[in-house]
């Protein structure tokens, strides 16, 4: 079980890395329009 003493801090670090990714996603507006972007690819310009 000693490995948990390494894994738990690592997991906590990983949380912050993932949160960083989510921050990027929100700030670039990835969640602003969930419907239209999906259908836009099907429409002609």
């Amino acid at each position: 079980m000693e490995i948990a003493f390494l894994l738990i801090p690592l997991a906590v670090l990983l949380v912050f890395v993932i949160l960083g990714g989510l921050w990027w996603a929100i700030q670039t507006g990835q969640f602003e329009d969930l419907e239209e972007e999906g259908s836009r690819i099907l429409e002609q310009d």
Binding site: A4, P9, V12, L19, L22, W23, I26, Q27
Partner: protein, 763 residues
Amino acid sequence: MANPLAASSANPWQGLDIQSEWERFSQRDASAAEVWTSHVWVDNMHCAACSGRIEQTIKQQRGVLAVQASAASKRVRVVWDAKQTSPSSWFANLNEIGYPALPLNEYNAISDRTVQQRKMLWRLVVAVFCMMQVMMYAYPTYWSDSNDMAPDMVQLMKWASWVLTLPVMLFSATPFLSQAWVSLKQRQLGMDVPVSLGIMTAFVMSTLATFAPGGWWGDVVYYDSLTMFVSFLLIGRWLDVKLRNRTAGALENMMRRLPHAVLKKNADGEWVQIAASNINVGDVLYVRPGEVFAADGLVMVGSTSADESMLTGESEPVLKPVGAKVIAGAGNLTSAIEMQVEQVGEGTQYHALVNLMASASTEKPGIALLADKVAQPFLWAVLLAAIYAVIFWWNTDPAKAIMSAVAVLVVTCPCALSLATPAAMLASAGTFAKGGVLIRRLQAIQAISEVDTIVFDKTGTLTENLQQVTLVETHAQWDRQWLLDVIASMSRDSLHPVAQALHAFALQHDAQDQLLLQDWQEIVGGGMSATIVTKAGEAVRVTLGNAEFCGIAHEAADALRQVYVATGEVQLARLTLTEQVKPHAKAAISQLIAHGLDIQLLSGDRIAPVKNLAAQLGIERAFGLQKAADKLQHVKLLQQQGRKVLMVGDGLNDGPVIAAAHTSIAMGSGVPLTQAQADMVVLGNDIGVLVSLISHCQKTILIVKQNLLWAALYNAAGVPLAIMGLLPAWLAGLGMAASSLLVLLNALRLTDWDKSGWQKGQA
């Protein structure tokens, strides 16, 4: 546009004190020259207690005549006197009490809302993500015996949970904490105070248990309950933000209709592009088809047709020859024109409409006023209950005492109570707006749900403005079918409703509309003329229009509308136009009667046609020859009998009646919205909407009552349990979040509006 807030000085709002700046978000009062009504946006106004505090504080300012704050739409309406105060002073005042405001002009609000929405989502994501991790570390301690895990492993998990709770405390929960701090500094009680007290206490207790276990605070940690509580609070706020943005979005879609840049003729006669905000009265603008008119004005060169449906409800395109008035916000449909500007900005009918909608969304319905009233005493009761829980348990177990108090604070979080009414009302108002029904006062929803008698006006309400055509007589020496061909051909290219009715009528009678017309002309308010070659090969000038236009003597007294075909002064044919009952009128009336409403018909028209119409529609009580005073008398009589009367009319000619009636709806196309005095305005012509409108209003009030009942029951059950210590902190958080979500989701049911008829599932 320069941001007026960018100016840095002692009072950062001084920039707003120039009249041209405050005019961007204010409107001059019609009666008093120096009195202005301003709309501002207050972002962190979340609950009934906040809006109450804003109203209280600003009202005390000298020169502020009235304040109306709506937590549901985050708008504050301030009526103020320019002689006694200036916008900067009450803006500064709002800032002092912790509610920084933004002038509600479109650009600020839109970009601000995007930023705001992203930030809220980010707070929510951080809280939920950290909560999930904390749960993972909390889980083993719940389900293992105390000997299963090594003590240093348990300690490591506590530390990890603490690290993961930090971002939630320091970032996600800051809106609640800072808002609570501000209201404490003001020595006032907002909904965030008990919430923050609960969050802080739980965090301090858990931190002590983590880093200094063994004190009176015990060694139990509550990181899981804490992060969950914050997450649920944020989910409630997030849904709240989305719901508001949907309503605000509908408003802004209207405001964004006007173009930002226009083509203006400069002194040299060249076209230059200028910003729409720089248009002045007297400018000549070039408007291409497909564009929206940026200002009110007159057509100078060219002729076109305009879509004014958004402003007048008139669904037909309106012909705009040289000299015709065009209005801002209407769409230019057919061809490019030059126009001279007569009115810009706040003076236009379009702006009056936007302001109308804005003030409707800040007005508080009666039920919401009740919530405001109970908010403060309720919060005090909550704090007292929490203190009582601490005293009650302190001698037995201090840790349990503190956590029971936390449970009381958390479980009573009054989000549900303060959301109950505005969420439902706004959801309905937004739905109505999408379906072409504008609400002037939110109270109208409540009022309409209570009516038992509906009084209809006739013309334009139950009958079409478009008329039914009958060909009465034709000249004996002219071929009847050829005359029909003439009528069809001449009326073919006109957009006037009468001409379109004639065209449709002629085609129904097998006419061809392909005759060769030379010099076809249309004169507004008269008719059309053209030169046509007859069957005999002779070219004649033919006129189609009213008697005056055709040069024919006529009897003025006849109630029916007459249209003539003539050449020279010889009458070739005479047609009459009669009123036609609206397509869904009969079905609508019978549905309303079936649902127990008493329907009456009051009209200024002669008795015979009124009775006739009433018989057609199945209305038992119909009264003709009613002048405005008679109608008023009639409605008052009904009210003396204890009836709640809904008046449905064109909203124009019935001013006093509408004011006297319990509530009113203006129907029908062609009604200038700004003059309509009705509580609701139905755009378009479909009377069938009325049935589902009334049933939807009843459904809205039903949902408001459900919401209020639920919030009350939930608190009545939760508080005693929490004081008795039977409610762990996490369950209290779950209950609070569930009740808020339930209220919001219940309100979201109102966004479905089935316009086809009486909605099922009603009491």
